[in-house]
Subunit: 341 residues, 2 copies
Amino acid sequence: MTDVGAPRITIHEVARRAGVSHQTVSRYFRRIESLKPATRQKIEAVVSELNYRPNPVARSMRTKRSGRLATILPSTPSLLHSQLLGGAAAIAQAEGYLLEVVTIVGDARTRADRVLELAANGGFEGILSLSPLALDLERSPVPIVATGDYDDQFRSQGELADASVVRNIIEHLVSLGHRDFLHIAGPQTFTSARNRKLVYETTIEELGLRSYGVADGDWSGQSGYDAVQGLPATCGVTAVIAASDQAAMGAIRAALERGWRVPDDISVFGWDDYDMGRYATPALSTVAVDRDAQGREAILKLIATVRGEEPPEPSHDPINRIIIRESVAPAPRRGAQDTSS
Amino acid sequence: MTDVGAPRITIHEVARRAGVSHQTVSRYFRRIESLKPATRQKIEAVVSELNYRPNPVARSMRTKRSGRLATILPSTPSLLHSQLLGGAAAIAQAEGYLLEVVTIVGDARTRADRVLELAANGGFEGILSLSPLALDLERSPVPIVATGDYDDQFRSQGELADASVVRNIIEHLVSLGHRDFLHIAGPQTFTSARNRKLVYETTIEELGLRSYGVADGDWSGQSGYDAVQGLPATCGVTAVIAASDQAAMGAIRAALERGWRVPDDISVFGWDDYDMGRYATPALSTVAVDRDAQGREAILKLIATVRGEEPPEPSHDPINRIIIRESVAPAPRRGAQDTSS
DNA sequence: CTGAAAGCGCTTACAG
DNA sequence: CTGAAAGCGCTTACAG
């Protein structure tokens, strides 16, 4: 089982058996059209008999192309990262690249240094970061694409951090009579979290609504719980928009413990459409995000850049879909009264 | 930014500038002790000035060691896989290996073929599979370690599929007066799921308890929901042990919809300690699993095999920890009456 | 359309 | 302790 040293078949051996030169075998594997059918067949027979495949290391040595891309994973990956990775890995494979996973620990500065080190000496043709990166990408010798990145250079990657659906959520809640809102934000190192907060604040202002404010959160249930626990009893908030399903669950828990009924007294929205939210009581209203598609688009963009091609037009299929469940209902009369004051 | 063709510094250039031969520079990087301090310093100065690192492709070409391990990820990865991967990637990195992620789609047969193909020609020194594999590992030219594997060859990897805690859960429930159980199993392609079911059935029998049976599940909330929806009203079950938190949430949902109070009428256990379960109402009793440690142990085993060393003794730290929350309570009198009959 | 030569950037014996 | 030679398995011009 560990007989790694089994004599490797070389291109010369294949060439010898097929009665051609080793360059011709090389052409066969590079799918060069000009091969004579007869030659091609002879090679094909030997290749399938020996189950020979060219050594990718030797090829990469010669071509200076490694065919390898790196994915930077945070040290404590979440479901989100799995799903992004699943989409990205499938595309990478289909496009003939191998995706290598690298976890990076340490503070933002250390992580940035390590990524640059990888970019310079890792033998990768490109890097896809699934976590925020505090890095001037111009300094990298190979292309880097980051999702949820630290600074704003990827804000144009609208589909990766699309927060416009926050406005739709607020509008829906307004149609149910809500006027007093609270946002439980995600960590502001994530573009997606920053964008949701931004859209929340903008929409509140544009529609002339009241916001009790934005609670700092970190996606976790605890942060949602703390945010609602910390609300003054008289704040009048009737609708909470959390940046994650976990935070929403925490918020609901805190509300119930304070004797506030959900959704009768207060409506709560989550984000991510985790399986458990659908079966919770009350069932969680949320935003379904096509992470797989996000991962695919991110890696397609990276591969295009690596190849020096124009990045593909991002798909205009909606990546976010609002799902209304039991945790959302018309605003209570109290809320309506506040509005009339 | 895409200037990949920047002239690469070679070992010869470093050697020239340091006034030594390129072999000596090679020795420097292979940390060969015998270098004279003066020589070492000269090299060090040039290396840090040029920020030179040996080309790993060339090294691997020569040594026939790629330093690369593959991880097989299912096409729809879950949080579990993220966490396993996080643990595995950290260790791989620390041990000097790169972990490459490969997703494999198709039926069990296709996947097995593809893994063998990777093992033979992927240039990997070993393979870690995070999903079941229907494969005779003896046929692989490089070591393969699989978690949750298809057949029984990894049952000895107790720590990866440790189900003994199922017995502890049942004993706890018995101490609360429960006698009538239901198990909502995970997909039986997973060793972990099969083991939990096995321990469940064995314990029920050994302790002389009653089991309404084992419901087939697939980890999902829906499968838990269906299992409890399908229970006859008179089945007498007072305790449900689900193979996942999602299934447990589904089970609770179904129970509530049938007018059964949780935990007053029926107690429910989940598995995985998802963040959301802690904030659900009732808060979910569950099993916290150290997936990170599982990932670490799996990759350590793989690396040891690759190196031809003895696999490390699996840690005896408990990987599973039972967490009792609101979804579990003493059996209702009905249950107690049944017992006395 | 196919073959002989050179070389990618290292490491591994082998001398000295 | 350090240097000259050979070679890992391919691909890339260059001939023919």
